[in-house]
């Protein structure tokens, strides 16, 4: 699997990471090496195999619709880097 500059650009956008030029090169090389190794999986015949998403999932697990356990605004905001008017303050969003 060849990792191009475009792939690294796309993936760092998805991951919301900003990489320097050197980091990008390194990331591409490492990812390529790792993916090449991961491609071992291609040799495994998985025809007609159901993907195992959850290990023990035969019973339904629900919560009943009863209010409880609210922590409130103070707890929510306790660790917030920036707060205003009881809300989390962030750079302006569009729309």
């Amino acid at each position: 699997m060849k990792i191009t500059d475009e792939t690294i650009a796309h993936v760092s956008l998805l991951a919301q990471l900003e990489l320097g030029e050197e980091e990008k090169k390194k990331a591409a090389a490492e990812m390529e090496k790792m993916l090449t190794y991961i491609e071992t999986l291609e040799t495994l015949d998985t025809e007609a195999v159901e993907p195992l998403t959850h290990l023990f999932a035969s019973d339904n697990v629900f919560r009943e619709d009863i209010p409880s356990g609210e922590n409130g605004a103070e707890a929510a905001l306790k660790n917030a880097p920036l707060v205003k008017d009881g809300m989390f303050k962030v750079p302006k969003t569009i729309g």
Partner: protein, 477 residues
């Protein structure tokens, strides 16, 4: 314009479910509280917090899915939709992509051209995002997570709609069904029902689809109509001028009656869906489905069929009455008391809906006893009150649920039905209005109306107009 174009529309409708708590935590599903009060580690995305599914959400979703004639997925799973945005505390939304709870449904809508079947592609459960407020003062945004984790279903139609009329009929039908089920109040203005319009155009006769856009931020039926017209026009102009439509999400600005692209270079549109390892699959067996079906109220389509058989009212009336479960329930209960369905229907369709509108209410808010309306109809039929008085009394039934019999008694509103008393007053009126008498006797039928009016005036509206009419005719013949 050289060619005729057809508009092809599919809708993605988000509906906020009426539950006591959020979808994945026990915080209240409630609005109006101050910011971030209905929150906990789960709905604010604290590290280490885990979601646990609210059973009622599945129950509501199942009921809606069945009412939309969908196939229910026996093992339904939740997936994570990954994207960064501050209203989304985990930076992923727990939704359903691969195995949504319901698929392949359909509903019938009624438009001027007749009935149409609109197919439902799928319906899934997901969590709502928080709210972003723009802070004008320092040009930043503020995040409130009270709405974060409020349960939603998203109903995705096939691209079967062709006009704004159909879109509105479809939304009305969805709203009617979901309100019947008590699963949501479906208010567009308040955002408990939100419709995104996927629209493309193609030359009439063309089989393949054009490139579509997705329009968001449509908060009323008027906005939806304007946005559809605007987007249709914009796409046709692009095509006619040799350009192409770009597949993108656009935001409708109803004040400016225009839309703009929401695309940005920071938006990769690659959501990396994968099964959420924290939420086990939900198994839905036939027993559960049957229980939901058994508890399902009679829905509108069935009601319409039954009304046709049981009640002697026009189809038009039946359609209006069944639009909300509240009105239909009132109609049925009142009719069963007084056995005059047409009269009940008239009171509901004319006076009730007029007052609903005047008071700025919704049909669901109407809250008077069927017995009181039945009583009122009887009072009129027995000639104990006349139509004008009845309307006045009805307002009090509507607002305060008064007993009409007691109210009429108390306020002395009963019609004067005493022939002798009426004759005396009629004679006075005849004596005071010689010109009208002469006119009537000269063949002007209209003049009698004036005399009836004058008599009623003296009676302060409480005369029986039929009797007054008859007495005057007798006096003047």
């Amino acid at each position: 314009m050289s060619k005729a174009y057809e508009t092809v529309i599919g809708l993605e409708v988000h509906v906020e479910l009426q539950t006591k708590t959020k979808i994945f935590c026990s915080c209240k599903n409630d609005f109006g509280a101050s910011a971030n009060t209905h929150t906990c580690p789960v709905c604010t995305g604290m590290p280490g917090a885990l979601p646990v599914l609210n059973r009622q959400v599945v129950e509501h979703a199942l009921a809606i899915g069945l009412a939309l004639n969908c196939d229910i997925t026996p093992v339904t799973k939740f997936d994570r939709k990954n994207y960064f945005y501050p209203d989304n505390p985990q930076n992923y939304q727990i939704s359903q992509l691969y195995l949504p709870i319901a698929r392949n449904g359909q509903i019938q809508i009624q438009v001027d051209a007749g009935p149409r079947i609109i197919r439902i592609h799928e319906m899934h459960m997901e969590e709502d995002a928080g709210k972003l407020l723009h802070d004008e003062w320092d040009d930043t945004s503020l995040v409130d997570y009270n709405r974060s984790g409020v349960p939603l279903v998203e109903i995705v139609s096939e691209p079967d709609l062709r006009s704004a009329e159909e879109v509105i009929a479809y939304l009305n039908e969805l709203r009617t069904i979901i309100r019947y089920l008590g699963a949501s109040d479906c208010k567009l203005q308040e955002g408990s029902m939100r419709a995104d319009v996927n629209l493309s155009v193609r030359p009439v006769g063309e089989a393949s689809m054009g490139t579509r856009t997705e329009m968001k931020n449509l908060n009323s039926f008027k906005a939806i109509s304007r946005a559809i017209a605007g987007e249709r026009e914009r796409q046709i102009e692009l095509l006619e001028s040799g350009n192409t439509v770009i597949q993108e999400t656009r935001r409708w600005d109803d004040n400016k009656e225009t839309s703009y692209s929401m695309r940005s270079k920071e938006d990769a549109q690659d959501y990396r869906y994968f099964p959420d390892p924290d939420v086990p699959p939900v198994h839905i067996d036939q027993v559960w489905v049957q229980r939901i079906k058994d508890n399902q109220p009679e829905l509108r389509a069935e009601k319409l069929r039954r009304y046709k058989k049981e009640f002697d009212i026009p189809e038009y009336d039946a359609r209006i009455l069944t639009e909300t479960k509240r009105m239909a329930d009132l109609f049925e209960a009142t009719s069963s008391l007084c056995h005059k369905p047409k009269k009940v229907s008239n009171w509901l369709m004319v006076e009730t809906l007029r007052l609903v509108k005047e008071r700025g209410l919704e049909a669901e808010d109407v809250n008077f006893s069927p017995a009181h309306l039945a009583e009122l109809i009887d009072l009129v039929d027995q000639g104990l009150i006349n139509g004008t008085v009845a309307k006045e009394v009805f307002e009090h039934i509507f607002d305060e649920d008064v007993s009409p019999r007691e109210y009429v008694e108390e306020k002395g509103l009963k019609s004067v039905n005493d022939t002798a008393a009426l004759e005396e007053i009629a004679k006075e009126v005849v004596a005071k209005n010689p010109k009208s008498v002469a006119d009537y006797q000269g063949g002007k039928e209209k003049a009698l109306g004036f005399l009836v009016g004058q008599t009623m005036k003296v009676l302060k509206g409480q005369g029986n107009p039929g009797m007054v009419n008859e007495i005057l005719r007798k006096l003047l013949s």
